[in-house]
């Protein structure tokens, strides 16, 4: 009897939603753990498999045909240099372009056009990298060939532009293809940040008599600076690990220099792995995995540096 009167007043047993809470908490905790474990497993695998190559003696490494008598460090360093240089070229081209596109979409274009353009840029991000590579070989290469030839002829005194040789299978072309590839992700990120610029700042600037360009310089760009940096780092992360596009476009080489118009000078780590792995065996595979470990560390530190930069400029971020 008592139970009947109790029931409407205080509900016994677990509160509604408690089960859902604990399930969701467990799920998100589990997901968080999974990502850490996965990262650890990948790092562990790379380290474990590259140990034989790291510990191998010079004589043993000489048995690996494609290393051509180099030791591990002098094999990895030119590759790392090529990887970073191609990404740097890509960033130099892509970041200013992205800022321009993002500004146009967020502040200049009529609303309808802006929306359409935004979708278009996002669509670019969905194109697989091998398609970009094919596009680079079939379309971009013949197009930039004459430009490079002209540069080399007229500005050859500037070392990076010296001694261009057709076809344009050089690091400059690879960098341009990478630039097009990372354009969408950088643009999309920067656009979001620009759109979050406080309207009050913009209106204040305009009210003081600033032109639209001055307003952008005073209000939008300072506000978006950390966003631009993090967007650039996101793009760089993609460019560093890009394989197919570089593999298709570049005549590889193992030299550390800035002759970006010459063939056979540079190679990226990821493209080198893809190119050598099919015929590699034994220690050769370990060496390639060791270069993979190096790339892993490289991207890790690039991201770390990006975080540090963003944290230092936290006062500008959209969070305040």
């Amino acid at each position: 009897m008592a139970a009947v009167t109790d029931e409407p007043a205080i509900r016994r047993g677990p509160a509604p939603g408690r089960l859902g809470n604990s399930i969701f908490k467990g799920f998100s905790l589990g997901s968080g753990i999974v990502i850490v474990v996965l990262l650890g497993l990948v790092a562990g695998f790379l380290l474990y498999r590259s140990l034989p190559a790291i510990l191998a003696s010079r004589e043993q490494l000489e048995g690996v045909g494609f290393m051509q008598g180099r030791d591990l460090l002098s094999y990895v360093l030119p590759l790392a240099f090529g990887t970073v240089l191609s990404s740097a070229i890509a960033l130099i081209v892509a970041v200013p372009l992205s800022i321009g596109i993002a500004l146009f979409i967020s502040h200049y274009a009529p609303r309808r056009l802006a929306q359409g353009l935004g979708y278009l840029v996002d669509l670019l991000a969905a194109i697989p990298s091998v398609v970009f590579g094919l596009w680079g070989v079939a379309f971009l290469m013949p197009l930039v060939g004459p430009v490079f030839a002209w540069l080399s002829e007229n500005m050859g005194w500037f070392p990076p532009f010296s001694d261009y040789q057709a076809p344009a299978r050089n690091l400059a072309t690879a960098g341009l293809v990478l630039a097009v590839m990372i354009l969408p992700i950088i643009t999309a990120t920067i656009r979001e940040v620009f759109l979050q610029t406080p309207t009050l700042h913009e209106e204040a600037s305009l009210a003081l008599g600033a032109t639209r360009w001055e307003m952008i310089r005073q209000a939008v760009l300072p506000f978006g600076r950390s966003g631009i940096i993090s967007a650039a780092m996101l793009g760089m992360g993609r460019a560093l690990g890009e394989t197919m596009a570089v593999l298709l476009v570049l005549s590889p080489g193992f030299v550390i220099n800035f002759f970006v118009l010459q063939p056979g000078q540079h190679q990226s780590i990821a493209a080198n792995i893809a190119s050598q792995l099919p015929e590699a065996s034994g220690l050769g595979v370990d060496v390639l995995i060791a270069t993979g470990l190096f790339l892993f560390l490289l991207t890790f530190f690039v991201n770390l540096a990006a975080r540090a930069i963003i944290a230092r400029r936290a006062e500008f971020s959209g969070a305040n």
Binding site: G65, F66, Q68, P167, R169, S251, G253, P263, G264, E279
Partner: protein, 376 residues
């Protein structure tokens, strides 16, 4: 009785691996069961079981053709070939992971000792069953002769970087009737490790050791060159630049110009016959036997009508196996490859475009295959 027991198993085993090819043979096979021991129109006894091979990737296309052809002949035998590379293939053969291997290089002394153990006291068979000409291709759209003549030293000079222009006197001298353009020679090599590169540089260092001073190598030794990954990549690079010159599996030369190579006083364009001729003109290696038909390619030969830039791939098997099934299946598969049908199948440009072996070589290969027996 025995036949009835084997057939269902055979059909299942074959269909698993060679689904498409064999699916067509399955019903035919079942019908054939009523009429007797014939299979796929052949008089051979029907075999069953499975044999695995591994090795050189250069013969992958040919092996795919042979697998399909053999499946029509012996639908009961499931053959597989894994293009793991020559070195890995020999290793897997010696540690008994596979029963036959494909290799661009012959077994060395140490491997021969291991082979005796692996072959249950028998010997290893090394059969040169894949001969593929390597073409020197160039991109000169304004030159409309069929083949430009290139003396051996000039080929070496182009790739070593000492012959830098197409109107070089050495080229002009060999081509008196051709108006050569004054454009740069752009040598193009493979960017990945490749048996094609190894055979090509072996040729260069044999015919022009003073010009090509790098020796036979698998990885291109000269920095700063144009290069392409895999055969198709190299083809694209040569097609993409006027004045480019490269080396490529002859069946993939496409519409690119191919050079006639200087042999003696003659210039020989590549052809299956000329490629097979160099193999016949070359002596056996010093340690060759009736079972190991290894050939010391005489790349600097002056014999007329031979094309010296070829790639030979050996099929390696055992003279003795520990069970009847392996022995019979390997012998049947190798006989098929050596047969005119097998060689012609691989010679089809759609398959691998290789050069069929000569009848003389076939006789010796068949004699070696007949030696395959069961241990004990």
């Amino acid at each position: 009785m025995k036949l009835g027991r084997i057939r269902p198993f055979a059909a299942v085993a074959a269909m698993g691996a060679l689904a498409l090819t064999v699916a067509a043979c399955g019903p035919q096979n079942a019908d054939g069961g009523d009429t007797g021991g014939t299979t796929g129109g052949s008089d051979e006894p029907a075999l069953s079981g499975s044999i695995a091979g591994s090795g050189a990737s250069s013969v992958e296309a040919a092996q795919n053709g042979w697998l399909a052809g053999f499946a029509e002949l012996q639908p009961g035998v499931n053959v597989s070939y894994d293009p793991t590379g020559s070195g890995t293939g020999r290793e897997q053969f010696l540690n008994s992971t596979v029963v036959f291997a494909g290799s661009d290089a012959a077994l060395d002394e140490e491997e021969l000792t291991m082979a005796t153990e692996r072959c249950f006291g028998g010997e290893a068979l090394e059969l040169p069953l894949y001969i593929s000409p390597i073409a020197v291709v160039y991109n000169l759209p304004d030159v409309d002769v069929e083949n430009i003549n290139l003396p051996a030293e000039v080929v070496a000079g182009m790739f070593a970087g000492t012959v830098t222009s197409w109107d070089d006197p050495a080229i002009a001298e060999a081509n008196p009737d051709v108006e050569l353009p004054a454009i740069d020679v752009i040598p193009v090599n493979r960017s990945d490790d490749s048996g094609t590169t190894e055979n090509f540089t072996e040729y260069l260092s044999a015919v022009a050791p003073d010009v090509w001073t790098y020796g036979p190598i698998e990885t291109w030794p000269i920095p700063g060159t144009q290069s392409g990954a895999q055969t198709s990549g190299l083809f694209d690079v040569v097609s993409g630049a006027e004045g480019a010159v490269g080396y490529i599996d002859a069946s993939r030369a496409g519409e690119l110009g191919t050079a006639a190579i200087g042999v003696g006083d003659d210039f020989v364009p590549f052809s299956p016959e000329a490629a097979a001729a160099i193999v016949d003109a070359s002596p056996a290696t010093e340690d060759a036997t009736d079972l190991r038909l290894t050939i010391e390619l005489e790349r600097d030969t002056t014999e007329a009508g031979t094309y010296p830039i070829v790639l030979i791939s050996y099929l390696i098997a055992c003279s003795t196996y520990d069970n009847e099934e392996d022995a019979a299946n390997v012998a049947a598969y190798l006989s098929y490859i050596a047969s005119p049908e097998g060689q012609d199948r691989a010679a089809d440009p759609e398959v691998a475009g290789s050069a069929p072996i000569s009848d003389d070589l076939r006789t010796r290969v068949m004699a070696a295959i007949e030696q395959i027996t069961v241990a004990g």
